[in-house]
Symmetry: C5
Subunit: 355 residues, 5 copies
């Protein structure tokens, strides 16, 4: 539905900016806070702790990753916003779940928002969730709409001290999260690629009309994906250019790598559009060709029998004087004429290459 | 109608620039002036006051919002223009209701023009009106074609001192008005999104030919919307870049936010175009598929009966000597041949996958 | 015809640049010179004066507008070129009537060339003429292919001292002429808009095949218009940027206004292209839908009668033993079967939603 | 054929750059050298002289134009290359006849390559040849694939001392040659324009299927032309920008003029693409409309007769008891029913607007 | 298959960057190292040597080309990476075989990755392989997925000291390899060009439906090719701009030449897309035209016989009183009417231009 791309604006049009109103579906009953405190030597995870404890952790000397699951509770956002001196517009943006991916640079923090797509194999569907990241000097705060994310491998790397993640700053952690999100796009793209291949095969083997609806739905999905991911390109390019002092030079090189992946995602989406257009074209042409073949065959049959029926009609006339009717072999003669007519037409059609 | 996009130029072609001629429909009988005088401590609204009183308010020490409903009276515009030293071309632009959105920066004022769209739910239609804003250091003047606007929430925020509006300058008030206008676009877009969804559903369920006309009308509406909103992007980008000293640094951050919304509006319009094209394509293909199915079925019926009729014709011939006619079971034999022929054709068509 | 867009190049390919050869149709028998001498206090028009007198006027202390109607006489151009030291390439360009709009800046003069379109209501057609302007410090020279132009209001403003035209320099006069030309484009666009609306209405009411040809012709016209006006955008942008010292700061503001109009013209042309494509699509779909409806109805009629004819054929067979034929109510029985068959088919088609 | 756009790469893939291998068709038996030695006072042409003499001329104090007809002899190119210290890559490029138009600037020479198109009226076809120009301080060397070119008017201007060609340097001569080549494109475009007009007329008058193939061929030609000429734009823009010191300021103004022509060529090609697409669309729609009209008429005829035939069939049944058959006016009654049925159907179809 | 464009991301999503995991198909059993040690005087090739020996060669004073066939063994990459201090992300990129072409510039080395396409004539198919180049001051390392490449002519030039390759640095060797890869694209393009020509010919001669599938497959191939080669443009432009100090000025000129070739490749691909679209259009129109011709002919035959059959039906009616039946020449009269009807219809259809 087109509604998927909409901003539920009626609810808030004209309200004061920075008014904290959650726009979107509430996906959790309450908000869960998770804190991971780490430095090169140790890592301390805190599951589901309360706000006061979480903020205390953040003020400690170590790097801290504060993850917030659930963004429907404006009080939570306001409390965090106040603690970290986050601009009211940023707080508002965290609450709105129909943001375009964007990067906003403030004096003491960076705000990154991007869509996290997850493929649930058991349900064979894609879940989309908005992830907001606030990066300050020593703290990274991530806001998710719901529990469950694509960050498990990042948590494991922190725990098991794999790679450079523990030894680097929060900017590297931000990179790790963004990278995990972008890497997951490829999983989604693989699903779509497989479905395009299937539809193409079906189109060649057995072009049923319902393929049309499935192609349409897939095309719609690709349009939506493109619309959501497209602005990410600039966001990550800005991170790779190291526009903000919060991103260190070594981390910028890693963002350059994510940037390459984003461009690859966009390229793949573009080529999927081309491929889908091609499959649709192929489908319509194949359907139309098949239909034409059917019509042609049927028309040839009809056309052959119409003159024969005419001949039969002629000898069914009741004129008193019709010499042929009296002939000994009149009947055979009539059948013969019919046979010859049919044969003549068949030869003619064959010669014309009509079947 | 294409006429909607036209500039009624014949009326004025070649006239001296700055000649004040109202171009557009006169929507009100007379001009209504409303003044809201405010500072951080108090707000004083003046409904429908006369010109002299209004200009006196504007010259006072407090921030003033002068709203002009009705732009057909050139004398009013000329009087205001003279008082605020507004360039003749700007005065002319205020009077012409087919302006492209634009921002013009003069030494002592900014001129912003943008289209205000309102959805009237009771009449189920969209009203478009041109809004011109003149921003000087202490005064904001807004010109509307008619009474009724999307600014009610802004007036309430001023009255009830919500947010930072009372404590900020006129540039923030300008932001609040522009933001209200842009936020309302989302309401319009929601309407269009809903209609696209409806048409898509109808196309899948029951693709009647009249959907074609409705799709065409909707596409036309989207083209018109795009044409009108497109240039707004640059206008608001310029405001966010803080090109003029009349826009303060803190307000520029808010305009950056409106800029994001404008881009989101354009993205949505673009994806609506894609969606509409997709629905149209689906509609045409579905119609064509259905028609083909009908034709195929009918042709199959006709094709089966034509050979049968031929056989009946043969045994309706009046040859004197036709052995079959004399047979005891001749009639049954003929019916049998017919039955077998019909069956043979059905089997053949079935095998070919034609039904 | 495509020829409309052609440069009659064969005539001159390879000739020395600056060779004065008139390329285009000769529209007048002789060249008419008109001079308007003016300053803030007075204006002196000279109709159809000779070359020597005209050049004397130009050398006077007042601002002078020298208008040349007819550009087929190379001697006239050469004489003016020599007097004002105009580059041979510019002289050549004045003579060629298939120029792209362009602005060329030389040390002591500006050369502007643009297409002047006029709608002749009595003949219901559009006339296109090339206008060249040479702007020096105190003189503006305009070259037209023929008498009759869109400059009458400008002449009146000069005569009646309306607006700032008499008090400003020749650059303002140049602006006034360019503005008059661009304003006239809107008149042409209105004609085209009206025709698109008419064709759309006819398409919805009664989609005759000849509409196709009219749509095609209109599309061709819009393509031609776009091609001719498109480069004007850059020309006027350059004037508004005040690239040359011959354009004063105050006049540049006015050119900025013309620039807005030009962009509006281009936007309108673009949306006309979209609208025309939409109407064409609608037309083809409507025609195709109508045709399909006709075919379907006819095929349904044929399909209902074919089985009935078959039944009649069966009872027209001449078998000696056909029990039904001997029945008392055989005829009624046969008619009954036919009626039931027809009814059955009608119910079936109805149920399938085929009519 | 697509082959026309190919680079015969297999022959040379991976070879050392600067390896002199002629790629293309050999069009002449041997190489012809022509030298024109000139200054403001005199011009000395040397037809078909040998290499040593040619190089001696080039070393003289006067401006020299060395024209080489035939580029298959790598020894000739190598000799010239050595004499003028031409980079091996340039030598290689001269020999490859599938170059994109390009400009390469070296310390002591400019290398320009562009396609020369000639229309041979007697054979009604277009010949394409690659022209390479090497411009040094006092010498211009032109390489052509074959004898015969579009430079005859330039030679005449040199001979007869027309225009400024004899008094200017070799850069002006280079301009004159490039201008001659570009001017000739218009001749080719005129041919194409005429053919588009013809095909459009035929499409409106008598849309035969073979027009489709001619439109396709023309479109292919326009695509090829566009591909070959497109890069020329940048080449000539660079010359007009006077990027190299080998181009004098006065000559750069002339190249600016050629640049305008090139843009006009591209504009015309673009509008030809639009026109061709329009004619194709018109053709397909017209064909489809005509076909539909035919089918409709035929189907109407068939549909009217089918019920009549059914009635005839009814009264051809052999039931013993069929009261109508015994009526005095039974036959007339039957004919009457048939007539009324036919009339009824005609009126119905007419009312539906089907013919 | 769309899968061809996929990044096998599921395997690695979220892993630590720089984690060496081979992504792609393992094409060789083990890794083969080849070293060519050279300077202006001598060249020493080492086939299939071990790692330690290879690295010793690389540390020698002469230029060294280390070629690695097989990239599935992460230990090999890690060893080389450690020796040459290659960034972990670069090592990771070498292992992933679905990279976009890119150039990455580090302090002491350049990383270039590009796709190598080879046409295997014996198998009539194209093989695609990823080639990574690491260019340091004295060493060039090339990584290939498998043995067999397009570099044989480069090896020969090294061996036989042809051209400047032995006397130049490793940057020139890098140029030679990139040039060999790009030159080979033309071989692939020639194959595609030939296939387009064949399909076009078949479309004109005998437009069978299976051409549709072949056109679709070819279009898909061209889309894939375009996607893979497109980013190469920027890569080689950056090399030609000599952004890195590792590329010398003289070599940059050679990269400029490769850049021209790359643009030519892209131009050719673009024109192939246009050509393919044209052939597809032609194919569909031709098929549709042919089908229409068939239908029209068949319908004309049917339409002529239907009225004749009706007449026969009339005289087959069994009315007691039917005067014509008793006429002496009644039968002839009926046949005459039929003949005239047929003739009349034929003349009518002919006059209408229906056949």
């Amino acid at each position: 539905m087109a509604g998927r791309y909409r901003h539920s604006a009626a609810a808030k049009a004209g309200a004061s900016p920075g008014t904290l109103v959650h726009i979107g579906e509430q996906k959790l009953e309450r908000v869960f806070l998770t804190v991971i405190d780490y430095d090169a030597d140790a890592v301390t995870p805190h599951q589901d702790i309360n706000m006061a404890a979480a903020l205390t952790c953040c003020d400690g000397p170590r790097n801290t990753w504060l993850n917030v699951d659930g963004i429907h509770d404006t009080a939570v956002i306001a409390r965090i916003g106040e603690h970290f001196k986050i601009h009211p517009l940023t707080q508002e943006d965290i609450l709105h779940t129909a943001q375009r991916p964007k990067l906003e640079s403030f004096d003491h923090y960076l705000y990154i928002v991007l869509p996290m797509l997850r493929y649930l194999p058991e349900e064979a569907r894609v879940i989309s969730e908005q992830v907001s990241l606030i990066l300050t000097d020593r703290v990274l705060i991530s806001f998710q709409e719901s529990t469950g994310d694509v960050f498990t491998p990042v948590r494991e790397r922190l725990q098991k001290n794999r790679g450079r993640i523990r030894g680097s700053g929060c900017d590297y952690l931000a990179y790790a999260l963004v990278d995990a999100v972008v890497d997951h796009y490829f999983v989604i793209l693989e699903q779509i690629g497989t479905r395009i291949d299937e539809l193409e095969e079906q189109t060649i083997d057995n072009p049923k009309p319902e393929i049309l609806h499935r192609l349409h739905a897939l095309k719609r999905e690709v349009i939506g994906l493109r619309k959501r991911i497209w602005p990410l390109r600039e966001v990550i390019a800005a991170l790779a250019r190291q526009d903000s002092t919060l991103i260190h030079r070594e981390t910028a090189i890693f963002f350059r790598d994510v940037h390459d992946h984003t461009i690859q995602v966009m390229d793949t989406i573009e080529s999927y559009r081309d491929l889908l257009a091609g499959v649709l074209e192929l489908h319509l042409s194949t359907i139309s060709n098949r239909m034409s073949e059917v019509m042609k065959t049927l028309t040839i049959i009809a056309t052959i029998f119409i003159p024969l029926t005419f001949i039969a009609g002629v000898y069914g006339m009741n004129f008193r004087v019709m010499p042929e009717l009296e002939w000994r072999w009149g009947y055979g003669f009539a059948l013969g004429i019919m046979g010859l007519t049919a044969l003549g037409l068949l030869v003619y059609f064959k010669k014309k290459g009509w079947f």
